[in-house]
């Protein structure tokens, strides 16, 4: 995978947008990996949480295509362990919002069949729709 690194990208509009929506300072991350180590769903992700943050730091917009941001369960384990106090769940949410703004909802209520959604606790359906659609 070829990644282009440039100061213009690091200080560009995408990084500014992610930081404004999340309220987080992406450059505070020193890639220690505690977030990835503690993430309960990291095994199912195409990119580790720390890798998502790394690409976001570099202003690389291909990070928006990662499955990771939709596999995040917002369990807050990463946020509770980050030694730099970065709230990675907020960064994940910012990336989801930017991606949905550009490409539409990730999960539509039309995709919830009564057979699957019918037995689920309401809070799961509401939570998933609020995280994965606008």
């Amino acid at each position: 995978m070829r990644t282009r690194i440039s100061a213009a990208q690091v200080r560009g509009a995408f990084v500014e947008q992610v930081e404004a929506i999340s309220g987080e300072n992406l450059l505070a991350c020193n890639q220690c990996g505690k977030c990835s180590a503690g993430c309960p769903v990291a095994f199912a992700m195409d990119m580790l949480p720390s890798q998502v943050l790394r690409l976001a730091q570099l202003g690389d917009e291909t990070v928006l295509e990662a499955d990771t941001i939709w596999t995040c369960a917002a369990c807050q384990t990463c946020a509770s362990r980050c030694p730099q106090g970065i709230e990675l769940p907020r960064v994940m949410e910012a990336l989801r919002l930017i991606q949905m703004e550009r490409h539409g909802d990730h999960l539509g209520s039309d995709r919830l069949a009564p057979e699957t959604a019918g037995g689920l606790p309401q809070l799961a359906v509401i939570g998933a729709l609020r995280k994965f659609s606008q």
């Binding site: 769903v41 369960a73 807050q76 509770s80 959604a117």
Partner: protein, 296 residues
């Protein structure tokens, strides 16, 4: 003395057993729960974007209702508790967001509500000795793994209920009921939460690992305080081929259900409907053990 209570959408329907057992336990402890006169769903998620005031409207209205009911509101649902607590913190840190929301909703919140979780009330207001004093059916010999999940505790700075890495609330509750709390490595590990909607195989796998770990440490059941954790851990034990649950399946109980049993409340209040892994055989075992102790 009644305690203003916000049940939330899920406890009012699919997790009605949690609500019913919670109300019965509170009444038995002389602190009956009284619903807020007006409430709606808290939103089920706390908005993580810094500029999303709209998603704070529902929980802010609930906080305003709590203020009108005297200031304090308690919850059983871990998600409702999480959303309300974090909303309180967010509004305190951003007065301009509160101002905007108050202008929009026309039911102003003045910033003075107190949000508690029922477990916190048990620890801080009743006291665990106070709970033990009212136990008539001690759960002696019952080994239960306390499962805390995620949102009841994290982020600790904002939630402030218990230590987020090594909590003791559910351990202490179990001990107060005479049961043996079985510590295990997955106590604060995520069950997969709302991924049950989008990627159900993930919560199924995570939940099976959590239950397997509890079983390997000797647990006969798990307790939880979250309706989504209960659903994930319970339904993950339903085999995919449609047959009955395995013989070594573990019942997933709400802490209030065990409390209802231990406090000697009638079976109707235990709220045992809707479980995939039937807890009744476990309770029959407790009953037999108690009977044999009384007879010996």
């Amino acid at each position: 003395m009644t305690i203003p209570y916000f049940p939330g959408c899920t406890l009012s329907t699919q997790a009605s057993g949690y609500d019913r057992s919670g109300r019965a336990v509170a009444a038995a402890l002389e602190m009956p729960l009284e619903d807020l006169p007006e409430w709606q769903c808290c939103g089920a998620t706390f908005p993580l974007a810094t500029d999303n005031s709209m998603a704070l409207v529902a929980p802010t209205r609930l906080l305003a209702e709590a203020e009108r009911a005297g200031g304090h509101v308690t919850t059983l649902c871990a998600i409702c508790f999480h959303v309300l607590r974090r909303t309180q913190v967010a509004l305190a840190e951003k007065p301009e967001a509160l101002e905007r929301i108050n202008w929009f909703t026309e039911t102003p919140y003045e910033g003075g509500a107190r949000v508690s979780h029922f477990l916190g009330l048990l620890r801080d207001e009743v006291g665990w000795e106070g709970v033990t004093a009212r136990v008539t059916r001690p759960l002696a010999g019952l080994k239960v793994a306390p499962y805390y999940g995620c949102l009841l505790l994290r982020p600790e700075r904002e939630i402030g209920l218990d230590d987020a890495e090594t909590p003791t609330l559910l351990h202490d509750c179990l001990a107060a009921l005479g049961a043996e709390a079985v510590s295990f490595p997955y106590e604060v590990e995520c069950c997969g939460a709302y991924l049950s909607v989008s990627q159900p195989e993930l919560p199924r796998q995570l939940s099976q690992e959590i239950v397997a770990s509890a079983r390997a440490h000797g647990a006969q059941a798990l307790v939880t305080a979250c309706p989504l954790c209960q659903y994930n851990l319970d339904s993950a034990q339903r085999p995919q081929n449609g047959e009955g649950v395995a013989a070594n399946a573990l019942p997933i109980l709400y802490f209030t259900q065990l409390m209802a049993v231990a406090l000697g409340l009638e079976e109707e209040s235990w709220g045992l409907e809707g479980h995939v892994v039937d807890p009744r055989p476990l309770f029959e075992k407790i009953g037999d053990r108690l009977r044999s102790r009384l007879e010996s």
